[in-house]
């Protein structure tokens, strides 16, 4: 098998991939200037102006691409992945193979035609060091991944029970019906908020374009003069709802199409993609916490989204958002045991509650100030009718009281688990060994009432139990410290 000891460049196809990436980055930065050029300025020789600007842009991107390609070399020597890159700003990344967290293999249509793969090597460390090889021959990609993962999993292999076969087992596969259910039950309010926020954010930028384009100009002026009747508002509402559902469906199809989760003794292998097939490998030891949640509709039809909280930097976490769609509760029982053999809630231990004053405090200090600000803003247009927003207050309080009534947490020698629900529901489990440090927070009110908020910090996020009894928080903290300090078991 190839050893990669000699520094080597990527496949020439990487030039194409890098070109588009750099082009996209440049366009993202300069697009408001381009719109300004399009709609503003003098109209003398616009063609020539565009030709010069386009040629300059193309030349810059091309030069940058070629330099980036020529000055990028990677190798594996003395158990270290060495990457040297950059022409003006030179960077040398040296990563011991044991520190590599995951190797992601992706193949777009262009890759599959040219028999190449893209490799993303996710490394540990706070600096977010991540190596992307845009294209290398498929055989090299597989050899490199195997070479790295063999070293990554030395510790796992040493401690794991020997297996007769290293074959992968399918844990879940999202079929078309499951995908459709997931799409229709998505949070459409979130989708419309994202779309509206995007449109409002961009409106000011494209305003000059709207004012100068004949058809769009007419639509805008018609919108400003038309009367908003109830029929019109209802029609607009229906149109917006349909568009939102369609956008939600497209988002879900792009995100979860053909979503397959397989596992072997090393970790999970996740594969998905509609336009571009993607694969990710998550070693088990990198999982720091597991959460799963369902909104109201998904709860009714037995769907959930399961989050594997993995260690890494914020930047890496954004890219490696490991969210598994669950269409059957049994799938959770197959995924969770590698992290925690038995759920604390299923050990027969009694679930502990949180204090109901949490609901009143949250309503008083979070909901009420937000409503006051909203009412203040709405009062500018609606005058006294703005006070109607305070109808939300009793609803919010009721919801918070329901949250407190349903909240349960379990602390057993296996780990911690919490359950919370109002309309939807969510659960989380945490293994003691994954705790990085423990924090107890107390406000004046909590101190008077012998309450505390317990925060267990992990490399994959924090596990929070609000408004619990202070002596319970201390007991859990003492036990958490005992579990983390009495063993040299690694947390990753």
């Amino acid at each position: 098998m190839k050893t990669f000891e000699t520094p080597q460049r990527q496949s020439p196809l990487a030039l194409v991939m890098m070109f588009f990436k750099i082009f996209r980055t440049v366009i993202t930065v300069i697009w408001p200037i381009l719109i300004g050029l399009l709609v503003g300025g003098k109209k003398e020789n616009p063609g020539l102006k565009w030709l010069i600007a386009g040629a300059a842009l193309l030349l810059f991107v091309l030069a940058r691409t070629v330099l980036d390609y020529l000055y990028f070399r990677f190798s594996i020597k003395d158990g270290q992945l060495i990457v040297r890159k950059g022409f003006f700003y030179k960077t040398a990344i040296t990563v011991p193979l044991e520190r590599i967290q995951a190797v992601h293999v992706e193949q777009s249509f262009l890759h599959s035609v040219t028999l190449t793969h893209k490799l993303i090597i996710d490394t540990a460390g706070k600096e977010g060091a991540e190596v992307t090889i845009y294209a290398i021959p498929s055989s090299d990609a597989i050899a490199l991944r195997t070479l790295i993962l063999d070293r990554v999993d030395i510790r796992t292999a040493e401690t794991a029970e020997p297996e007769t076969k290293s074959t992968t087992k399918q844990v879940s596969k999202l079929d078309l019906l499951g995908l459709l259910k997931l799409s229709l039950s998505a949070n459409h309010i979130e989708t419309i908020t994202v779309v509206l926020a995007f449109l409002m954010g961009r409106y000011e930028d494209v305003k000059p374009l709207l004012a100068n384009t004949p058809l769009l100009k007419d639509v805008v002026s018609y919108g400003e003069t038309m009367k908003y009747t109830w029929q019109l508002i209802t029609t607009l509402f229906i149109i917006v709802t349909i568009i939102t559902i369609v956008i939600s469906c497209v988002r879900m199809f792009l995100r979860f199409y053909n979503y397959t989760v397989r596992m072997d003794r090393k970790g999970y292998y996740i594969r998905w993609g509609l336009l571009q097939v993607r694969q990710k490998m998550i070693p088990f030891r990198r999982i720091q916490m597991i959460r799963w949640r369902s909104n109201f509709i998904r709860r009714l039809i037995g769907l959930a989204l399961l989050n594997l909280k993995v260690s890494g930097t914020d930047e890496a976490k954004k890219k490696v958002l490991i969210e598994l769609p669950i269409t059957d509760v049994d799938q959770i029982r197959q995924i969770v045991p590698v992290y925690q053999p038995l759920l604390p809630a299923e050990t027969g231990a009694t679930g502990q509650k949180i204090h109901r004053s949490y609901a009143f405090r949250k309503t008083l200090f979070i909901t009420l100030p937000i409503l006051m600000v909203v009412a203040g803003l709405l009062a500018l247009a609606w005058q006294w009718y703005a006070l109607l927003v305070f109808i939300w207050l009793p609803y919010s309080l009721g919801l918070q009281l329901l949250y407190c009534r349903n909240f349960r947490f379990w602390a057993t020698p296996e780990g911690l688990q919490l359950y919370k629900s109002t309309w939807g529901k969510g659960e989380a489990i945490l293994n003691w060994k994954n705790i990085q440090y423990v924090q107890i927070r107390r406000s004046i009110y909590q101190r008077k009432n012998e309450l505390a908020t317990l925060l267990l910090h992990t490399a994959g996020g924090q596990f929070e139990i609000p408004y619990m009894k202070y002596d319970h928080a201390l007991a859990i903290s003492n036990y958490a410290l005992f579990r983390t300090e009495s063993t040299q078991e690694t947390w990753m």
Binding site: K126, E161, S311, G312, T313, D314, K317, P341, L342, T347, A349, A411, T412, P413, E414, I435, Q436, Y437, V438, Q439, I440, R441, R442, S443, I444, R447, L455, H457, T458, A459, G460, G461, Q462, L474, A475, S477, N478, Y479, A480, L481, F482, T484, E485, Q488, T490, W491, M492
Partner: protein, 177 residues
């Protein structure tokens, strides 16, 4: 696969609540008072400059509001900061470090040595004058702040750093065996 499900017995465990905490050095209050004085003088200077340059702002009502807000911010910073200073206490045990902070919202951080990635000793110019240092402890926790203990005597901060580094290196050598 061996599997056990024993009830948790927390009675015999070392208790955080039984630990006696040590306050940070009293001179650190002088350090923060000097820092506030410099900060608020700079802010006051900037505000006065803006008022001198802008004729529109030279209105008794605006001047009163800005002065009122400024005095309120200074007073609240001094009161809350002094209260917080008195609450800052730390304790070092065999296997972890404990740190109490906050006056209105009180926090107790408990950091096991075997979870520390590295630690740094910082000494600002004012701290140096009083022979004090700040020790920052870094874990791999992705959310929440890293723990920073201000107002330690320089020698103690260095000793603590050495102790922590030794603990981290001992753990790594154990892993490599």
């Amino acid at each position: 696969m061996s599997f056990s499900n024993l009830p948790i017995n927390t009675e015999g465990l070392p208790e955080v609540q039984a630990v006696s905490f040590k306050p940070i050095h009293s001179d650190y209050l002088k350090v923060i008072k000097i820092s506030w004085a410099i900060l608020f003088l700079v802010i006051a200077g900037a505000i006065v400059t803006v008022f001198i340059l802008s004729k529109k702002l030279q209105n008794p009502l605006i001047i009163s509001i800005v002065s009122g807000v400024y005095v309120l911010v200074v007073l609240s910073t001094v009161v809350i900061g002094t209260g917080s200073f008195r609450r800052k206490q730390y304790a070092i045990r065999e296997k972890d470090i404990l740190y109490k902070t906050g006056w209105i919202f009180q926090n107790l951080h408990m950091v096991p040595f075997n979870r520390l990635q590295h630690c740094v000793v910082n000494m600002g110019p004012i701290e140096r004058r009083f022979g004090l240092a700040t020790l920052s402890l870094y874990t791999a926790a992705s959310e929440g702040k890293d723990i920073t203990i201000h107002g330690l005597p320089q020698a103690e901060a260095e000793q603590l750093k050495e102790l922590i580094i030794q603990q981290i290196q001992a753990l790594h050598s154990d892993e490599n065996i």
